[in-house]
């Protein structure tokens, strides 16, 4: 795996220090409409540390435990993020251990590339890949892992992961510093979201630092959880540009191929595709569609194909394995993303890295991802999207895939994400250690009844932890020898 060096980005006008990731100027226009105080707060958080400060406090190796219900062998945004971030942190010299639940018959300890140790704890998932929430059931195994691996901080991923919430709760009880990364946007009004937001309030009431993948995601997380904005860092995702490369030979412009790769579910705007595709096919006889992915809305797309007799112009590939995504992208000119909500959208990064022009809905964090000349945005409305596709087809001849790929290589790199995450870890470790009594008042702010309930939950957790220490003292848990990789000697 090849990692780029520390990248330099376009400077922005609102702050004196050098930014460390791309910022779309149109997005800056949007924040100037918000009150000055709020804008200033958001601008400060664009880059909490200047590049020079990175060199000053290199505090040595960290020992990080990544916890989530979402990891290999599943493929997805969160899974790839954890894996690639862990690999980059290992390259920087830190120790990383991942903890997740067991998948089918994959249970126990596994080692991945570069000695990344993964604990597949045999708690079976019960709903949508999530471990059964037992409040205190995972305390013994988490305590054992934290002691034997000599972990210094715990990094949880994804608000929807029950294992993450439990691990962060137990780690705080035991006095470890915790960091939480939120990967998705959630609503405020439906019953599922209300419940989820309450759980998030509980977890984030006492978190050391938090990370969001875009500024929109940061706003969403801060509003949902009541976390002070100073504690939230924005570190966008990246893309592996060595894997996503354009085809060596440029495709001919006849026919123009539009690629869609996403899960065919309501959230990803599959219903919009049903309206948009026939209209575009009618307007442009030389346009073809390739649809990769599977889901409940696939039936609707098949019906649309039949109804408008588009079998020769719309190809449905079904679920595309992660390793084949690049070849599917390389067979197209335009990438269409019709999501109704996205915190960041790594898919359009992958498409841009392969040299495709992107047409996307103007939702969530999507406007923050690519520069204006690489993406055409539209409202999540069929007519608007058809207009956006018309515009994209018009500007397509001006696009150079190789040049786009090189620009993406400059702008996004997982190595940069790891360095910025390292800064967050350093900041987290400098937070003061607090006793249970000092921490409990933070939970009281979560609500009139909820606050008291959360305090009770944490107090019981503390008591159970102490009982566990009496039953099996810390000294009885043996530390694991460190895995040091030596270079292979050839000859």
């Amino acid at each position: 795996m090849v990692f780029g060096s520390m990248v330099r980005k376009k400077p922005i006008t609102l702050s004196k220090s050098t930014p460390t990731h791309y910022v779309n100027p149109n997005w800056l226009q949007r924040i100037s409409d918000i009150s000055v105080d709020r804008a200033a707060q958001l601008v400060v958080d664009l880059h909490p540390f200047r590049s020079s400060e990175v060199m000053e406090f290199k505090e040595g190796r960290h020992r990080i435990l990544m916890v989530s219900d979402f990891f290999y062998p599943n493929f997805g945004g969160v899974e790839n993020h954890i894996y690639l971030l862990s690999q980059c942190l290992l390259k920087l010299g830190h120790k990383v251990v991942v903890m997740t639940h067991a998948y089918a018959n994959r249970s126990g300890v596994r080692y991945m590339t570069n000695g990344l140790k993964v604990y597949y704890v045999p708690w079976k998932p019960f709903l949508m890949q999530n471990t059964l929430p037992t409040f205190y059931g995972t305390l013994p195994i988490i305590r054992t892992i934290l002691i034997r691996e000599k972990i210094s901080l715990v990094h949880g991923h994804q608000a929807f992961s029950t294992l993450c919430h439990e691990a962060l709760m137990h780690a705080r009880t035991m006095g470890y510093k915790v960091i939480f990364t939120d990967h998705s946007l959630y609503g405020f009004s439906d019953i599922g979201s209300i419940h989820m937001n309450k759980v998030l309030q509980f977890t984030l009431a006492d978190v050391s630092q938090a990370i969001c993948v875009s500024h929109t995601s940061k706003e969403n997380t801060v509003l949902r959880s009541g976390l002070p904005p100073e504690k939230v860092f924005v570190i966008p995702n990246a893309v592996d540009t060595t894997m996503f490369k354009p085809a060596p030979e440029r495709l001919s412009m006849d026919p123009i191929v539009i690629v869609v790769i996403s899960r065919l579910v309501y959230r990803k705007g599959a219903d919009l595709l049903v309206e948009v595709i026939p209209e575009v096919c009618h307007l442009y006889p030389n346009v073809r569609f390739i649809i990769g992915g599977d889901g409940p809305k696939r039936v609707r797309l098949e019906e649309m194909r039949e109804k408008h007799s588009l079998q020769d112009r719309v190809d449905m590939l079904g679920a595309v394995p992660h390793a084949k995504v690049r070849s599917v992208l390389n067979s197209g000119h335009i990438f269409l993303n019709s999501s109704l909500t996205e915190a960041f959208c790594i898919a359009i990064l992958e498409a841009a890295s392969c040299g495709l022009l992107t047409v996307s809905t103007h939702v969530g964090g999507v406007p923050e991802v690519l520069p204006d000349d690489m993406i055409v945005l539209a409202k999540p409305d069929p007519n608007d999207m058809v207009d956006a596709i018309k515009k994209a087809i018009r500007i397509l001849p001006r696009i150079d895939p190789q040049e786009m790929h090189l620009r993406m290589k400059e702008m996004y790199s997982w190595h940069d994400v790891a360095k910025r995450t390292e800064i967050v870890y350093d900041r987290a470790l400098r937070c003061s250690n607090q006793t249970l009594l000092e921490r409990l008042p933070r939970y009281l702010t979560c609500g009139a009844w909820a606050g008291k309930l959360f305090c009770l939950v944490m107090t019981i957790d503390f008591i159970l932890w102490r009982l566990l220490q009496l039953w099996q003292p810390d000294s009885e848990v043996e530390p694991v020898p460190d895995f040091k990789r030596t270079e292979l000697k050839r000859g």
Binding site: S107, G108, V109, G115, Y119, Y120, V121, P122, W123, G137, P140, I141, T144, I145, R148, E476, E478, P479, V480, P481, D482, F483, K484, R485, T486, L488
Partner: protein, 193 residues
């Protein structure tokens, strides 16, 4: 100076009988013996007795039904079984170079269960991390030719790593396989591959 052939902790005692036989290094025995404390059985029996006495008192003085006494006997027996009575008192590994390995399990009743693995069937001894829903510990297993599953050297005991490492090294030497890890003095392992 402590005898290098004995290691003990709160639960187990490890004894290595390498030097007992003549000529030396012909047969290598490693024993893991469960620690027997004196105070714990007395306390547990007292608690069980108190439980039964309380139930009997309730039955005769307060008129509780006899089932309360029966339940108290049952709970007392569970307490004794769980905390005191150990069916297995010792597990041993006897290594006979060029010949094979014998695994022995000594029960409290005096019964000894033995299993002999000839050297030709023994592929490799491995130290695995065994993850359960509540804990994670090390266990020593043997890879046996023509068998799909690992053979655990210690069926019930989970001794600490410092006791397992000398046994694993002796098994590696007996099966003539190169060790995959070198353990340095400070407990750090260096992987070679």
């Amino acid at each position: 100076m402590a005898d290098p052939s004995i290691i003990s902790n709160a639960r187990f005692i490890y004894v290595n009988d390498n030097h007992k036989f003549h000529p030396p290094h012909s047969v290598d025995s490693h024993h893991i013996i469960v620690h027997r404390s004196v105070v714990k059985p007395i306390v547990i029996y007292l608690i069980a007795l108190l439980l039964v006495a309380h139930a009997v008192f309730l039955h005769f003085e307060k008129g509780e039904p006899v089932t309360a006494v029966i339940w108290s006997f049952f709970f007392g027996a569970v307490l004794v079984k769980f905390f005191i009575w150990r069916p297995i008192v010792k597990e041993s590994v006897i290594i006979m170079p060029e010949f094979g390995v014998q695994l022995e399990t000594h029960y409290g009743s005096g019964r000894i269960k033995r299993r002999f693995i000839p050297v030709s069937k023994n592929l490799k001894p491995v130290l695995n991390e065994h993850v359960t829903p509540v804990t994670c510990c090390w266990c020593l297993s043997l890879l046996i030719r023509d068998e799909n599953e690992l053979t655990l050297v210690f069926k019930k005991f989970r001794p600490p790593l410092k006791m397992l490492v000398p046994i694993w090294k002796a098994l590696c030497a007996a099966t003539d396989c190169k060790e995959s890890f070198e353990f340095q003095e400070d407990g750090q392992a260096r992987g070679l591959y």
